[in-house]
Structure formats: C-alpha cells, structure tokens
C-alpha cells in the first residue's frame, strides 16, 4: 500500500527519500481517498513523534489534521508521543495533543489530562476537559467540579463534561447552577444525562416555573433522561415536587405538555426527544387527563413506538382514550390506537376495531386485521377471509398472517365456506392450512392432492404433512407425480418425518429421480437417521452426483462418510462439479479435505482456482494465496489479492 502511495503522490512534490517520508507526504494529498488511506497506514506504521512534528507545522492545516487523525487512530501506540507533546513549547501543539488523547480511548492518559486542568491557557484546559468527557473519566469528576468556579468558557466545558461522564457524584455540584442564567440550560442538560433521581425534584420545580417554551422544553428533555434511568414510577412517588406535577395545581404544566405533544410542526432540532420526554412524564405520573393527548400524538409516526410503549405501560385504564383514537380523522392515530388495543388485549374495543375493517385507509384496515388476530376474535374470520382477495397486497398479506394465527377451527370453517377456496383461491387457502392445521381440512386436502393443477398438488402436499394423523401413504404416491415440483415437495415433506420407511423412500428417490435428488439428500439429512448415511454414500457412489446442488446438499449433512466421495469429485471432468466439490470440501474443513482443496490450486479451470482462493482464505493460508496472486487468470489473481489484503488487515488489528 505504501508503494501505491509513493506512485500516486501528487506530481510536483519532490521525491521522498524513504517510504516513511512518502507516507507523511501523502497526508497532505488533495485527493481525499488517497489521504484517507495514508492516514490509515500512518496510524499503524508511522513513527508517532514524526506525526507530532507535522502537528507543529501551522502552514498546512490539512496535513496537520491528517496527522492528528492518524495519531487518534493509532490508539495506544500514539499515547507516549502525545504525552510527551503535552510539554511542547508551542501551546497549540499541547492543545491538539490534549484533544487527541481523548480519542485514543486509553484510560492511562487520564492522570496526564487531569494535570492540565489548571493550565492558564483556556484552550488547553478546555481540550483536557473535553478529552476527559470523551473518556468518561469518573475519577476526574472532583477536579472538573472545581472548574465550575473559573472562567465562563471553562465552566461551560465543565458542566458539559460532567453530563457526558454521567457520574451521579456531580449532581450536588450541578444543582446550584439551575439558578445561574448563563449555564442553566447546560446544567439541566447535564442532569438529564446523569439521570440521577436526586435531580428530579429540582427539575420538576423548574418545569413548573419555566417562563418560556425553550426552558420548558429543556426541562422536559432532562426529566425524560431521568425517567429513562428509573423506569419504575413507584420508585419516584415519594419525591414531593415530582408528585406535585400530577396535582390540579399543576394544570399549567399539563396544558404546556399538551401543547408540546399537539404541535403540528417541529419547533426544535431535538423535537423528537422533547416529545418523547413529554410522553414519558404522562406515563410515569399516570396523568389520566392527558391520555387522549398521548394517543393523538400518534399523528407523528416517528413517535409511534414510544407512544405504544407508554400506552402499554399505562395498561387498560387508557382504553377510553384508545377508543377515542380509533375514531379520529388522522389515519396514523387510528393505526396506533389499533396496535395498542391489540398489545393490551382489550376485548372491549373489538366492535370499534371490527368497524375499521371498512376503513378508507389501507394501513388502518391492515392494523385492524392484525389486532383482531391478536384478540383471536373468531367472529371476524369470515370478514378477514374475504380480504384474501383484496386488490391491495398489504391487506392480502395481513389477512394471510392473521388467518395463520387465529383459532384453527374457525379459520378452517371460514376458508371452506369461502367460494374462492374451491376456485382460484385454493393455493392461498392451502398455504394458510399448512400453517394452521385442523382435522376438518382433511377431506379438502385429499381432494387437492388429486388436483389437475401441479401448483395445487404441491401446496396440498406441504399442508398435508402438517396435519395430525398419517398422511404419509398419500404423500408417498406423489413421489411418482408427473410434475417435478410436486415430487420435490413430496420429498421435502418426507424430510419432516422419521423412520425406516421414510429413509427407504428417500433413498429410492435419490437412486431413480435425478430431478429431486438434491432435495432428497437434504431430506435424508433432516430425517436425522445416521445409519442411512452409509447407504446414501453407496447409492451416490453408484450414481454419482451430476448437479452442483446435489453436492452442496451432501456437504450440508456434515458427515465424514461423505468426504471420500467429495474427494473423488475433485477429479470430475465437469468443472462445475469440481467447483461444487472444492467448495464443499472447504466447508468440511478437515485436514484431509483441505489438503485436496490445496492440491486443486493447479486446476486447469479458472473458476475452480477462484473457489480454491476463497477456501484457503478462510484457512488463513497466505502462502497459497501468494501463489494464486501470480495466476494467469486476472479474476483469480484479483480474488487472491483481495483475500490476502483482508488477511493482512485482520493480522494488523490483532496485533497487541
């Protein structure tokens, strides 16, 4: 890679006298892709002290930033040089070094950063604070708190850092700042991030007292942060100022929460967080007068998950508000209300949900279908069966999914009563029956197994094998069906059963039916009878696989007994067979299997050699890949080169 950089370094640069120098030159290349590669390389191979020298050069900001990026990516290997740079005579180098130490993710740098906190240069001290925040340095909290008495720039940085570090020990130092206009909002933010319950009372008071929408929003967000850390409302009940928010005296707060949730346009860049917090407050305090506001906030689909969580947490007492939501004009709200009814299992809402099967909005109808399925409302089955023929795919899929889960007796009755089931809807009905079997379906299935349409017979086989009772004899007859797809389905169905008879039937299929052979091999593996593998190998030795799919199916059995057969296939005259055999042996991974894979490195067909490259890369065998890099076929050489680069990259990351 470094050679590439030397070749492609911008014209006009004086030639580098060494590869290392070339790499450092490439850090200032205008081509960003080249520069990114140089950064990545420099992070691992350049001397960090050389990179520090580039940081000290103020004339090329781009190269300086690239050097800083390389130092950051270098992680622990950059740390000694960065620590030395904290004593550099140029205060800006000190500042950059302090800032970069935070990105090395090495906790060993924390004491060095703490020592910078009382630096006279504000930018250096602030860079140190910032880095301590990145490192989540809880040990530095005490020292950072002391900065709250210094210059406003540092106070700000300190408050921010305390929030990022998230240590509850900082709360007592932050609470007084709620009275300081210059940092109040930062302090509110920090308390929200820390999430300590100690802050809840003061934040609740501030919420009631906040004079403008902006402060109110900040308090909401911070309270939301605390509630996330304490999801059990019972724990918070004894905090007087917090509990007071649910009193009638806090009507002003309720009104403002309604305004936040009811706003039609986004007011703030963190609007979603603020609305989420508002919803969380309603949930945590069980503010019943605001339940309908909560449901109506569902007009914003981005809030749907949060609102559903809140509704489910609140429980059945939100039912009246959900019923209101089922009848509003906004379709998103009706969808949300439907989903919440289903999640809560609110059977009293069934009439309202059933009415939504005729809703003008397709999403709402689909939500109603899902909800009626969750409530297992059998009376709705006929209406849902009719939706199997809806012009819209969304409704048809919703109906299928619902009928697959509802009471099997009701679903069977509904399907068998539907005229379409006897006609064009037969296959769909059979697919539903496959997922939701019931004895009343038996006669219908038997008739479908004899249908003139092979698609129907295939679907009937799949459904029949899920039925209680013995359909094996019936399915066995279809092993001789004139349609290959039907026979394959019959073979697959057999794979779900066990027993000598099943194994015998599958072995016969392998021996005599080339079109179903791959499926029969897989089905035999599924049947799970290890005694048959020997017989399988014997059959395949007499009737060798002629399709790659058969070989892959054999490899999927993960049976040592199949390896000799696979090894023989490496010498097959058909390159497609050799490719499948090599791939399968590579997946086997045994010593013998891999030896035969390696030997195929000289195969005459490039497709085979490419698969060899793929297989040896998984074994991390770089020697063979280096052979394949010189392959006469460009695609093989390229595949080998890519695998080699990947292995080298992985080896670098594994280095201590």
């Amino acid at each position: 890679m470094v050679n590439d950089l030397v070749d492609s370094t911008s014209a006009g640069e004086s030639p580098a006298s060494s590869l290392s120098e070339a790499l450092l030159l490439a850090l200032s290349d205008r081509d960003y892709k080249l520069r990114d590669r140089a950064i990545d390389e420099a992070a691992h191979v350049a001397d960090p002290s050389d990179l520090i020298e580039l940081v000290a050069d103020h004339d090329d900001a781009g190269r300086r930033n690239a050097a800083l990026e390389a130092l950051a990516q270098g992680g622990a290997r950059s740390v000694p040089s960065l620590i030395r740079a904290l004593r550099h005579p140029d205060v800006e180098v000190v500042m950059f070094a302090a800032s970069t130490l935070g990105r090395t993710r090495d906790p060993a740098v924390i004491p060095h950063l703490v020592r910078l906190l009382d630096q006279e240069d504000l930018n250096v001290a602030q860079a140190a604070v910032d880095s301590l925040a990145r490192l989540r340095a809880t040990v530095a909290v005490g020292e950072i708190v002391k900065l709250l008495n210094r210059d406003p720039w540092l106070r700000f940085a300190a408050v921010h850092a305390l929030g990022e570090i998230g240590d509850p020990h900082a709360v007592q130092a932050l609470l007084p700042l709620l009275c300081d206009d210059s940092v109040r909002e930062m302090a509110i933010d920090a308390l929200g991030k820390i999430g300590s319950v100690e802050a809840l009372g003061p934040l609740a008071m501030l919420l009631r007292e906040s004079a403008d929408a902006g402060s109110f929003a900040s308090c909401l967000r911070a309270i939301g942060g605390v509630l996330e850390h304490h999801p059990d409302p019972g724990v918070l009940r004894n905090i007087h100022e917090w509990a007071a928010i649910s009193s009638p005296e806090a009507m002003g707060v309720h009104q403002r929460i309604m305004e936040v949730l009811g706003a039609l346009e986004r007011q703030w860049s963190d609007d979603l967080e603020i609305r989420t917090a508002a919803a969380a407050i309603i949930r945590a305090l069980r503010l019943e007068p605001l339940y309908t506001t909560l449901v109506l906030a569902g007009r914003d689909p981005l809030l749907a998950d949060v609102l559903q969580y809140c509704a489910v947490s609140i429980g059945p007492e939100i039912s009246p508000s959900l019923q209101t939501g089922l009848g509003v004009r906004n379709a998103e709200v009706r969808v949300l209300a439907c989903q919440c009814v289903g999640a809560l299992g609110l059977s009293d809402c069934v009439p309202h949900v059933t009415a939504l099967l005729a809703d003008p909005d397709e999403k709402v109808r689909a939500a109603a279908v899902h909800t009626l399925a969750r409530l297992d409302h059998a009376a709705a089955v006929p209406a849902i069966v009719r939706l199997l023929h809806d012009p819209g795919q969304v409704l048809r899929e919703a109906a299928r999914a619902a009928l697959g889960r509802m009471d099997a007796a009701a679903v069977s009755a509904g399907l068998l009563a539907d005229p379409a089931t006897a006609g064009a809807g037969k296959t769909v009905a059979l697919e539903i029956m496959r997922g939701n079997p019931h004895p009343t379906q038996a006669a219908f299935l038997t008739a479908c197994l004899d249908d003139t349409d092979p698609t129907v017979r295939r679907a009937a086989v799949a459904a029949a094998m899920r039925q209680p009772g013995d359909f094996l004899g019936t399915v066995e007859a279809l092993l001789y069906d004139g349609d290959a797809a039907v026979r394959r389905e019959a073979v697959r169905a057999l794979g779900r059963s066990r027993g000598e008879r099943v194994c015998r039937l599958l072995l016969l299929a392998i021996e005599h039916d080339a079109e179903t052979r791959a499926d029969a091999i897989r089905a035999l593996g599924q049947a799970g009878d290890a005694r048959t593998i020997g017989r399988l190998v014997a059959v395949l030795s007499e009737h060798p696989p002629r399709q790659p799919a058969e070989i892959e199916a054999l490899a999927e059995l993960h049976e040592a007994a199949s390896e000799p057969l696979l090894v023989r296939l490496v010498a097959d005259p058909d390159p497609a067979i050799r490719v499948a055999a090599i791939r399968s042996l590579g997946a086997c991974g045994s010593t013998v299997a891999l030896r035969h894979v390696f030997m195929a490195v000289r195969d005459s067909d490039a497709r085979v050699r490419r698969v060899v490259a793929d297989a040896v890369s998984r074994c991390r065998d770089t020697a063979l890949l280096e052979t394949l890099i010189m392959d006469s076929d460009a695609s093989v050489a390229l595949a080998a080169r890519r695998h080699l680069e990947d292995l080298e990259q992985a080896a670098r990351h594994d280095r201590p």
Binding site: Y32, H58, A61, G62, R64, N65, L68, E69, A72, E92, M95, F96, L122, N123, Q126, V129, D130, A133, D151, P152, W153, F156, A157, H160, A161, E164, S182, V183, E185, M186, D189, D212, G214, S215, W268, S269, D270
Partner: protein, 124 residues
Amino acid sequence: MKKLLVVDDSNLVHALCRQLLGRMRDLTLSFARNGEEALAWIAKEGEPDLILLDVNMPVMDGLECLRRLAAQGTSQRVPVVMVSTEGRDDDVRRGLEGGATAYLRKPFAFQELRELVTRLGGRA
C-alpha cells in the same frame, strides 16, 4: 425562520451553540461534524443563512471546506464565520482571503457569538 449550520467535530461546541443560540426566536440550528458532512447537508437541505465553520476537523478541515464553498459560490451568498483556537494574523488572513466573512477566535465571549449571529444571520 433562519437556518444556522454549525460545522464542528466537538460535542461541546454543539452544546454551547444550543445553549447560547438554540432558543433564539426564528433561528433553527443544524450540525455537521466535518466539512464533508457540511457539504452533504447543503446539497440536501439547501444553503443555510449562516455557517459557523471550525478550522480543525477530521475528514475535511474547515479551510478545505471553505475552498469548496467558494468554488460553488456558496460563500458569496452565505456568510461564513471561521472559528478556531489559532489566532495568528496569518491564520485570520487565510480564512478571510478564502471567502470567510468573519473570524472568531476561541475562547470567545458568549455575547460576541450571539451578536455575530444576530448581525450576520439577518443578512441572507
């Protein structure tokens, strides 16, 4: 509603801007972490009314971003305020010659930032 794009890789600067400017009437803030993100934001959302542009950022630094903004004409239409810890005259000159409208040295007074945004943000 005026749009301010803050281009800086520091979470602290983002928080500072939210604290100082986030609740100003008729002003919305958006944030990018480097020059490349800023250019992508502008391509998608359109030109803002004011850009605060840090010099030292990974991926694409502020001076390169300023060059590209000049090349596409953005810095002629949108005021760009360079923000940096570097206070040498050469650095200021490089920024202003590159198309920046103003240069703000860190650590700056908070009121200075508010006044600059009020003055320049209303120009677009």
